[in-house]
Amino acid sequence: MRFEELDDLYHATILEHRRHPRNSDRLEDPDITADGVNPFCGDEIHIQIALDSEGRVSRVGLQGVGCAINQATGSMLSDAIQGKTLDEVAALSRSFNDLMTGGPHSDGLGELTTLESVRQFPIRIKCALLAWSALDEGIEDYAPARSR
């Protein structure tokens, strides 16, 4: 059987992240928490973020169950947002969404760019977006608390 057409989707980088997810330890005292579920897949993602005094992401915890795409995206995300301000994280999230929907996207996505292949499998795009939409909501929920 020839699986070439799958090699983009299951790119080595993606499978490596899935096998060895980064930052998987749960943070005990996070500033921000974010949770996403996709009941149709049984996929779950849980994110904790600690900020430093300047409001930059200092530590990330991310745990989840789900398919390779969902798992790998989460792992890459947990690396990619390190050291960024929340505004920068939000911009990154927009950029990743653009990548998935085929729009023009900035090139600051690093490893995440390997997920571009998911676009050839439209039904799986939501797998790649679960962690990001959870993150967006987490940040949104945090923002009003911050301005209180």
Partner: protein, 413 residues
């Protein structure tokens, strides 16, 4: 028993290619494919005698009414119902169950009463009862289940009691394939004065079903899972039960006389069919029943026992794959539920898809069961009359390669 090779020629879609590979349709528990005769019955209707039924004096209306009611009779005969009046057309199994929940159950289940279910119910035979329980103050109770997906009936005497008002039970589990002993449980239910609703979505299409033998009060099933069109389903109910029930949906067709402030009801079964029915698809389901009758339901069942037996055996070659549900093909339907140790079902689904193999992945509308089995999602291959042992081979070989594929991670773009 069945000549699947010959049968396949009757199904236009089966000669289709997916990504350049022959379509291997193993998603039959979700919906079946349709033979040419069923598709043609729709064309014949729309090109030859399309007209609204029951109230017209013109030729086309008479012709469509006759065909529509003949289809009802065919369905009645198929499940050995005594009378066509016992057959109510619905959209699908789900609507059929909701009809009972919103009429008989709403009026007859009271505070403290119990509705008995199993842990393997499809959402469609669970969520409607949650509403009844909530609104009427009743309780849902679940028959315990063994690890292998069969019911644990050891303490069955403690399960049925004077408060049991309804047993609502799936005949064949759409997830695990379990065939439940519906006839025996129906007898128990009736002994304590409870009614029995059977979810026949996965039994009626796949094996001989006789409502008088089962002695169920209600039987629900879907046309689209038994070679028929989408949009047509059936509620069978015993005539005297139906006679006592309040109508569900109201409007044209189900009334006898109407005044501005009140109305009286039409005869059975129209009383439960408000508005213009799905005429074409009812006739299409009649054509599907003809097709199945010609094959013979005993043969259909035997064919699936063989395929499932063969499949379960070949699955044993796959070390890293867990199969759920009972293992003996004689006591289970034609669905194999499984998980590959290290591959999420959705990744598996995508990999199979690219080989032209359609399997289903996820919770199969049995989320609570998935939790009981301790999994978030599973994969399912399910068989029907046109499937062959070669297709089972394609599936198992494909799974093998997928397992190998995921085992090797060092590949680049």
């Amino acid at each position: 028993m069945l000549d699947s090779g010959k049968i396949r020629e009757d199904f236009p879609i089966l000669s289709k290619k997916v990504y350049g590979k022959p379509l291997v349709w193993l998603d039959n528990a979700a919906t079946s494919q349709k033979p040419r005769s069923v598709i043609q019955s729709l064309v014949d209707y729309y090109e030859g005698y399309n007209a609204n039924v029951h109230r017209g004096v013109h030729a086309l209306s008479i012709e469509s009414t006759d065909a529509f009611e003949l289809a009802r009779q065919k369905v009645a005969d198929f499940i050995h119902a005594d009378a066509a009046e016992s057959i109510v057309w619905t959209r699908n199994t789900t609507e059929a169950i909701n009809l009972v929940a919103n009429t008989w159950a709403r009026d007859n289940i009271g505070a403290g009463d119990e509705i008995l279910l199993t842990p393997m119910e499809h959402h469609s035979n669970l969520v409607p009862w949650q509403k009844v329980a909530q609104e009427n103050g009743a309780r849902l109770k679940f028959i315990p289940m063994h690890e292998d997906g069969t019911l644990d009936l050891e303490n069955i005497d403690a399960i049925f009691g004077p408060r049991t008002k309804l047993l609502a039970i799936v005949h064949v589990s759409n997830s695990m394939g379990t065939i439940n002993p519906v006839k025996e449980l129906a007898a128990r239910a009736h002994a304590v004065g409870a009614m029995v609703l059977v979810d026949g979505a996965q039994s009626v299409p796949h094996m001989p079903v006789d409502v008088n033998d089962l002695d169920c009060d209600f039987l629900a099933f879907s046309g689209h899972k038994m070679l028929g069109p989408t949009g047509i389903g059936v509620l069978y109910a015993k005539r005297d039960v139906l006679e006592e029930m309040d109508p569900f949906l109201r409007g044209g067709e189900m009334v006898l006389e109407v005044w501005y402030d009140r109305a009286t009801w039409n005869a059975l079964p129209m009383r439960f069919e408000a508005g213009t029915p799905n005429i074409a698809d009812a006739i299409g389901l009649g054509a599907a029943v003809d097709y199945l009758q010609a094959l013979g339901m005993e043969n259909v069942r035997q064919h699936e026992v063989e395929l499932t037996g063969y499949g379960l055996k070949r699955f044993e070659e796959l070390d890293e794959v867990v199969v759920y549900g009972p293992q003996n093909p004689d006591v289970r339907g034609g669905a194999i539920l499984f998980n590959a140790a290290d591959i999420h079902p959705h990744d598996l689904g995508t990999i199979m898809d690219r080989q032209g193999i359609a399997i289903r992945t996820g919770h199969h509308c049995t989320m609570p069961l998935m939790r009981t089995l301790g999994v978030a999602a599973t994969a399912r291959a399910s068989f029907y009359v046109y499937n062959t042992t070669q297709e089972v081979d394609t599936l198992v070989d494909g799974l093998k390669e997928a397992l190998e594929y995921f085992a090797h991670e060092v590949r680049g773009a």
